[in-house]
Amino acid sequence: MLTRRATLAAAASVPFLSYDAFADTPKDVLVMGMQIDDAVSMDPGEAFEFTGGEVSNNCYQRLVRPDPENPAVLRGELAESWTVSDDGLTTTFKMRAGPKFASGAPVTAEDAAFSLQRAVKLNKAPAFIINQFGFTKDNVDQRIRATAPDTLAVTVSEKQSPSFLLYCLSANVGSAVEKAVVMSHAQGDDYGNGWLKTTSAGSGSWVLRNWKASESIMLEPNPNATKMPKLKRVLIRHVPDPSAQLLQLRQGDIDVARNLVADQIKAAKSDPNFKLSSAARSYILYVAMNQNNANLAKPQVRQAIKWAIDYNAIQDNITPSTYKIHQGFLPEGFPAALTDQPFKLDVAKAKALLAEAGLPNGFEITLDHASIQPTADIAQALQANLGAIGIKVTLLSGEGRQVITKTRARQHQLALLSWGSDYFDPHSNAETFNINTDNTDAARNRTLAWRSSWQDKDLSDRAAANVKETDQAKRIAEYEKMQRDHQSRSPFALMLQSIEIAVMRKNVMDFVIAPMSDRTVYTNVYKT
């Protein structure tokens, strides 16, 4: 029976049922659905995660920046030109006239010097990228200084490849912040870090208007930007669930979905309302074999494992659009990256290698891996692959940081891990995958080679020497040779390289995922 009360209740609910606010997003606002709970700071002197890096990349400028079309070529951004002294120690940058901070103040050499000095003095996680040139809080004021309003001199402690310094300065930590604004918010000796964690003071095209951790990020145009954005606002919403991202994209509540999984991407590809942009990221997925394990310490076993993996099946079936096969320690896109694939599934060869190692019946081993996808599925595939040559793998699934904690303590046997390059120079990965000069537990430089208890003096020395090679062609050739030697000797089965894919609505124009991580810019984006 329909009572008067029920009728009133139904009538009251009508406004909600006919709710009309979920129309498409405004034309001058780009709304992205993204997982942003990795961000711990927006201060370029501290941010070292994907989200913080991408936001900083849009809010700040750097002295130099890799060409978006061809990252192997460096272009001046704040620097108009640069010269290297005869002794190779001092690089002098001539600052470009024109770039302005959001406050309207011009970017000076003093700001650029302060920003680098600040990063060294703060000594947060990314500081090592510039500290490796011998800067300390005690010497940095002398070694990085503005010699004129438009001239910045950077003096390193020993001669290095010039491109090495430039690529390191192109990292997020090399972003120029406005000295006067930042220092006006300094508390104690934090150089304004407490304030800059949640805001911006840069000369990029965008200003960070608001960051609510694990909720949203809002960017608005820098009114004094060298290149004005075409949109009035970029809103990044934390949408942790990829299914929810896809639903919101379909409904027009977001314009771009950044974290769809393989199946969803496949569906989106065939939907005429969507288009995709993708680029290889500098993340490599690999199996680390701890040399503390007597079986894994045998060179033939390491090779057998590399020949036992069915790279094609894993890529085709588990990560068809989100990873591609990659077997060199330099990700594709980096100078000197190798794209050939020497390893493929060869069970007979793998078995023969095991027999040669004195283990014809295989052995038992554990494999630590993160419980998230696609890592969990890949771990299962590895278990089956290695099982086929007699290696019985017990899977140990854990939360990502738990697995990292374990491998940092060298308590793993096999571990399925990923590694993202810290900066865009081959030395970033060459160092971590090769250099291990002290294999004791007290070592200071705990590279990936150290974490796998692997010492190869030849490769370690060559990696250390090649960073000082000033002839770029020779340097590249040596990295290529090192990668081939690494493939045949190292305890790393390098498998896949991550591909970042953004799925967007058809009316979003010029949103391009940049090659390499966190380099995507929103300046040219517009909607029709």
Binding site: F16, A21, K124, A125, R237, S243, A244, Q251, D253
Partner: protein, 337 residues
């Protein structure tokens, strides 16, 4: 009367002891967790000097009892520390995340109560009939279908297919950052701001996640109500009331329901407290920035100050609701007075 005061004093005395136990256990779990808390702050690539300096700054080099004593001392001074994931003080984070959960949980419990109690009573009164069977099936589904399935199906149906409800999140893009936070409850704040559009938008965004949570809670409340009512309807006092010729409605609602309402209060209060913990899965699917999501993300990143702070809030909520249920029990049941 004296016994009543003594009982009240004993109950209140148990509060700090329970909270202390909660902090101790959470602290210990946090410290024995196989995740290095320094990782959350400096990341995987930081050099050793940064790792060691951070470890010192966090006081992780000190023995566990000393670390705990420092934490408790800070806690007693109202300092919950700073979250490394959000860079805010844990208080500030709780002030932001808890109202989102409170808003959702309150709407959910109201919906669950208003639907679940009458359904439970109806099922009991019509025991064994098709109505009873139907209600039991509805409740069984609410209890046995995983909540993420309910949430996704709800989104697919009401948001993606029918277009009746807005999508995930607390508000639409058009209202993003338009309402100044006062209470943290978006619906209330939008009313304070006099922005009816924002209010409508906030409530519309709440209905779906609250509905999913309400369905889950309603299933439990209805089942408990049915069980209590069946018990009551078989009581001699109900037979007496019927024999006296009272109307069926009066017998059901006044005599039987009146008698079970005491027990129902406890059930509802504890269900509400459970909702206030934050529903991780629902919050994730609906991108709802609530306490559950905050707690989970913090835990997975070994952000121990945040975990301890949020756990303390959850514990306090439980305690308060337990005490409230206890007080109501005493108030409503003459035998306890």
């Amino acid at each position: 009367m004296k016994g009543r005061w003594r009982s009240l004093a004993a109950t209140l005395a148990s509060v700090p002891i329970t909270l202390f136990g909660l902090v101790l256990v959470t602290f210990l779990i946090g410290r024995v967790m196989p995740i290095d808390p320094v990782l959350a702050i400096v990341g995987d690539r930081a050099p050793m000097d940064v790792v060691e300096r951070t470890r010192l700054e966090l006081g992780l080099d000190k023995p566990l009892p000393v670390q705990f004593a420092i934490y408790v001392n800070n806690l007693l001074h109202g300092d919950l520390g700073r979250s490394v994931m959000t860079s805010n003080t844990v208080w500030a984070d709780i002030a932001r995340f808890f109202p989102a959960t409170l808003e959702l949980a309150t709407l959910a419990i109201l919906m669950a109560m208003l639907i679940g109690v009458p359904l439970g009573v109806l099922a009991a009164v019509r025991q064994g009939t098709r109505t009873d069977q139907a209600i039991r099936v509805i409740c069984l589904a609410g209890h046995s279908v995983p909540i993420f399935v309910l949430a996704l199906v709800s989104l697919l149906l009401f948001y993606a297919t029918l277009g009746w409800a807005p999508g995930p999140g607390r508000q639409s893009v058009a209202y993003e950052d338009m309402v100044t936070p006062v209470t943290g409850l978006l619906s209330i704040d939008s009313l304070i701001a006099g922005d009816y559009g924002a209010f409508r938008d906030a409530v519309a965004h709440m209905l779906q996640p609250a509905g999913v949570l309400a369905y889950f809670s309603m299933a439990y409340i209805a089942r408990m109500t049915r069980a209590f009512m069946l018990d009551a309807l078989h009581g001699e006092y109900v037979t007496t009331a019927r024999a006296k010729g009272l109307s069926p409605l009066r017998v059901i609602w006044r005599h039987a329901f009146g008698n079970i309402s005491v027990r129902l209060v406890t059930v509802i209060a504890l269900t509400y407290a459970g909702l206030l913990e934050g529903a991780v899965v629902t919050e994730t699917v609906f991108s709802w920035p609530g306490l559950g999501q905050y707690l989970t993300v913090s835990l997975l990143n070994a952000d121990m100050n945040a975990v301890l702070g949020a756990t303390l809030v959850v514990g306090l909520t439980y305690l308060v609701f337990n005490l409230l249920a206890d007080a109501l029990y005493r108030l409503m049941d003459p035998r306890v007075r």
